[in-house]
């Protein structure tokens, strides 16, 4: 039931009194409203912009966030309003939905942000009104295609465990995956070109003996051309068979357009072999040679543009059909008219209506060969009308086809551009990540300085703490805590990227003893740059004994390599004393700090690394830690 109509429900119920005298049975009891509240205004504060509406308006849709009791979670007692920290512009559409019962999609809004807002407020996008639904669907489709393109690019990365067949298929489909595939791609392309050129040159007249007429090269050098043809066809056959073998679904492959083109390209040769020089069928044999020209369509595997053209023509089938139909109509009309107009004149070329078709087509397409021209005045008048209308009729559907082609072409261009942009984007992110991680390490060292100094010289802390903002220091504090809490037999700490990457593949997780007062054991430390740091040198925590440790999260693929990073996070709730925050420092700068145990914890970041640099402070963790602490901007 639409929202606005809900306001009419009392009317509909009242009108039901019209049935009462007619009814034979008693009516059921009406539902009573337990606490009939007076309708009141409620204030919705969305990021500072206040919207006000009646409570009843929101109650129209009880299965959304605003219509149900879920909004109570957002109620602010002091200001007596509901506060939502969302985009106020999109909220406007959402609220209008309650008011009018129609959900509109604003054109300037980004589709994914709009979707997110709808999902947040519990509204399904399918109820978008007709006026905006098409636009919404178009944008959504574009977005989905974009995402799919991105995913496809990701899939290009080599997966282990692919059967030989699958590797071959992938090599055929994406030539740039391996060198062999590229070689194969170019070789086939070369042979297609050779084959086509051969077919063309075959018919060129090649010099002749003095008393013989000119013969085409094909007949002069029969053997050579035959060998060339054989070679090409053999290559194509081998390629086709290999593709057939590698195809995941052979039936579907055989039905695909490209494979049909392949078959048509090589079939004439075999048919020609089978049929020997039989006089009866030599005519048919000659016809078959025409089909050899289809080999040129094999180039469409090599050319993106050609594929797009084919796809465009397919998708514009209805416009092409219309064009054809209207042309046919016009041709028939004008041909008839011309025929009857020219009937009177003698030696007229317009012998029949089908004969006039040729004139009409040539005139409408403004070719004007001049082999047939009207001689009578009426014929000339109608001929000129014919040519004028031809221009119009042909010009009308063509822009539709052109725009379709351009849309598809641009989409493809966009895919390529996105791929290029993605590389740049990833590079940027990597730089920022390393920047922030080094910032953390840097500040950690400074922090050590800070805290150590704080123990001794309290007033100094103001001076030194200016180097990092409050946010950064809080963030770093958190990382410190993290380091602190993971008690282990091995030293763990945040390390920079190279060590991380090196040890990533060998990393594992140990289950740590709940308490290890002395982190002396260093088995299995194999990293180079990290070993230096991983040497522990700290005294046990003064209050280590009193700690309660939470059980670590274990990494599913535990390797025994005992390298530092990629550990779990032990949350040490009680390690809040000043001394426990002291870190171990590097060897060259020993400080008088009572450092506790340090362990690394790599905090995983979900795969689209779009968080702030502070959030990207650590190198991403192993694949299993997808749900571990996401350190976004703290």
């Amino acid at each position: 039931m639409a929202a606005g109509v809900a306001a009419w429900l009392p009317f509909a119920r009242a009108a039901a009194i019209g049935w009462m005298p007619v009814a034979n049975l008693p009516m059921p009891v009406a539902p009573t409203e337990k606490n009939k509240r007076q309708d009141e205004l409620i204030i919705l504060n969305v990021s500072g912009r206040r919207f006000q509406t009646w409570r009843n308006t929101l109650d129209r849709y009880p299965d959304t966030l605003l219509g149900s009791s879920e909004k109570e979670f957002f109620y602010n007692e002091e200001t007596k309003e509901y506060f939502f920290d969302r985009d106020p512009d999109v909220f406007r559409s959402v609220l209008n939905f309650y008011r009018t019962g129609k959900l509109h999609y604003p054109r300037y809004e980004c589709i994914s942000s709009y979707d997110e807002e709808l999902a947040f407020f519990g509204i399904i996008p399918e109820i978008i009104g007709d006026c905006c639904y098409e636009e919404y669907k178009d944008r959504k489709r574009e977005n989905a295609e974009r995402l799919m393109d991105d995913q496809e690019d990701n899939k290009d990365s080599k997966l282990p465990n692919m059967t030989f067949r699958e590797t071959m298929w992938r090599a055929f489909e994406n030539p740039h995956t391996s060198t062999m595939a590229l070689v194969f791609y170019y070789v086939t392309g070369f042979f297609i070109a050779i084959s086509v050129i051969t077919n063309v040159v075959e018919t060129v007249p090649c010099g002749s003996a003095p008393n013989q007429k000119e013969v085409p090269c094909g007949e002069r050098y029969t053997v050579a051309f035959f060998c060339m043809d054989t070679a090409c066809v053999m290559i194509f056959t081998v390629e086709y068979l290999m593709r057939l073998f590698a195809a995941p679904s052979r039936y579907r492959f055989m039905r695909s357009v490209m494979s049909i083109i392949d078959v048509v390209a090589i079939l004439p040769y075999y048919i020609g072999l089978v049929m020997t020089d039989n006089e009866d069928v030599s005519g048919a044999f000659v016809t078959l040679r025409v089909f050899r020209v289809f080999r040129i369509f094999k180039f469409s595997r090599h050319s993106q543009g050609l594929r797009i053209l084919g796809y465009t023509l397919k998708s514009c089938a209805s416009e092409l059909g219309f064009l054809l139909f209207s042309l046919t109509m016009a041709i028939i009309i004008f041909a008839t008219v011309m025929f009857y107009a020219e009937k009177g004149s003698s030696s007229s070329k317009f012998t029949s209506i089908p004969a006039s078709f040729w004139y009409t087509i040539v005139t409408m397409t403004t070719l004007g060969y001049g082999d047939m021209v009207p001689k009578t005045i009426a014929g000339k008048i109608f001929g000129s009308i014919c040519s004028l209308s031809g221009v119009l009729v042909i010009a009308l559907p063509v822009p539709v086809i052109v725009s379709n082609f351009s849309r598809i072409y641009h989409q493809n261009q966009r895919a390529d551009k996105r791929r290029a942009q993605k590389k740049a984007r990833l590079a940027r992110i990597r730089i920022s990540k390393t920047g922030s991680s080094s910032a953390f390490l840097h500040s950690k060292r400074n922090g050590l300085f800070n805290e150590a100094l704080e123990l001794t010289v309290r007033p100094e802390e103001q001076r030194l703490s200016k180097s990092t903002s409050l946010l950064e220091s809080q963030h770093h504090h958190l990382l410190h805590c993290l380091e602190k809490t993971t008690v282990s037999a091995h030293n763990h700490e945040f390390v920079d990227e190279q060590c991380y990457q090196q040890s990533y593949l060998e990393a594992g997780l140990q289950t740590y003893p709940s308490r290890s007062p002395s982190l002396s054991s260093q088995d299995g430390v194999t990293g180079t740059c990290c070993t230096r740091r991983s040497k522990k040198r700290h005294t046990p925590l003064p209050n280590a004994s009193a700690q309660a440790h939470m059980h670590p999260l274990t990494h599913p693929h535990a390797h025994q390599q005992g390298l530092q990073e990629l550990s779990t996070i032990h949350i040490q709730p009680l390690s809040t004393s000043r001394s426990s925050l002291n870190m171990r420092v590097d060897e060259p700068a020993p400080l008088n700090c009572q450092s506790g145990q340090i362990t690394t914890a790599i905090i995983s970041i979900p795969t689209p690394p779009a968080t702030t640099p502070e959030g990207d402070a650590h190198p991403p963790a192993g694949p299993a830690h997808q749900n571990v602490v996401k350190v976004s901007a703290l």
Partner: protein, 233 residues
């Protein structure tokens, strides 16, 4: 051809065109311009139909609703019909939304006629509120009167069997096809028979208002159901 020569000014338009048209002997010059005028005015009228209801105090006095209730009613009314009046198609649409499984248009038509007391083809807010006032806050007598008015399609003071059959069919149409037990063709007719047996005391084939009210007042079920929707607003 006039356009090729340049479009003359508004003031001259009719004059020039009329003059040109007079040159052609069999032109129907008068009619197009007249109808043009009419259609233009019609269009203006349609778009300018914007009814503003009487003041709140007046409505308060005329109906039995409180001020707040009138406010709520008007807000809902205006939301659905921004122009201030409901025409029959909109009325049918709105009513049909409450009965999705059947066809409520016939009954809505009768209902529209019952609400449109001045029979001008549209239900304004006053009509709406007056009707509702009777239905929700009226005495039983008034309600029964209203129901009689609804059934009496041609408003001649008698309910005939044909009128009742129409009404009954309309009501059954609202049920739609997917009912249990399945509705048969005969059901409305049978129902009308039952109704007439009950209501038509003097068996003259029609039901008058007095017969109707008497009979209803003697029927417990009907009396009880009259009070059913009292607290709807």
């Amino acid at each position: 051809m006039l356009y090729f020569l340049g479009y003359p000014q508004n003031g001259h338009r009719r004059g020039v065109r009329a003059r040109l048209m007079r040159l052609f002997p069999c032109s129907t010059a008068k009619k197009p311009s007249a109808s043009n005028q009419n259609s233009v005015e019609d269009e203006l009228e349609l778009s300018a139909v914007r009814h503003r209801p009487e003041g709140l105090e007046q409505l308060e006095a005329q109906t039995r609703f409180s001020r707040k209730e009138l406010q709520i009613l008007y807000r809902g009314f205006k939301n659905e019909c921004p122009s201030g009046v409901v025409n029959e198609d909109t009325f049918k649409d709105i009513y049909a939304q409450f009965f999705p499984q059947g066809d409520a248009s016939t009954y809505a038509h009768f209902l529209f006629n019952a609400f449109d007391t001045d029979h001008n083809g549209s239900v304004s807010f006053e009509d709406f509120v007056m009707g509702l006032s009777i239905l929700l806050r009226g005495t039983v007598q008034e309600k029964l009167n209203w129901a009689f008015n609804l059934y009496d399609i041609n408003k001649d003071g008698y309910i005939t069997k044909e009128e009742m059959l129409d009404i009954m069919k309309a009501i059954y149409d609202m049920m739609g096809k997917c009912t249990y037990p399945v509705l048969k063709e005969e059901t409305p007719r049978q129902h009308v028979e039952i109704f007439f047996q009950k209501m038509d005391k003097n068996k003259d084939g029609v039901v008058t208002i007095d017969e109707f009210i008497d009979c209803c007042q003697n029927d417990e079920n009907i009396m009880r159901s009259m009070h059913l929707f009292e607290n709807v607003i």
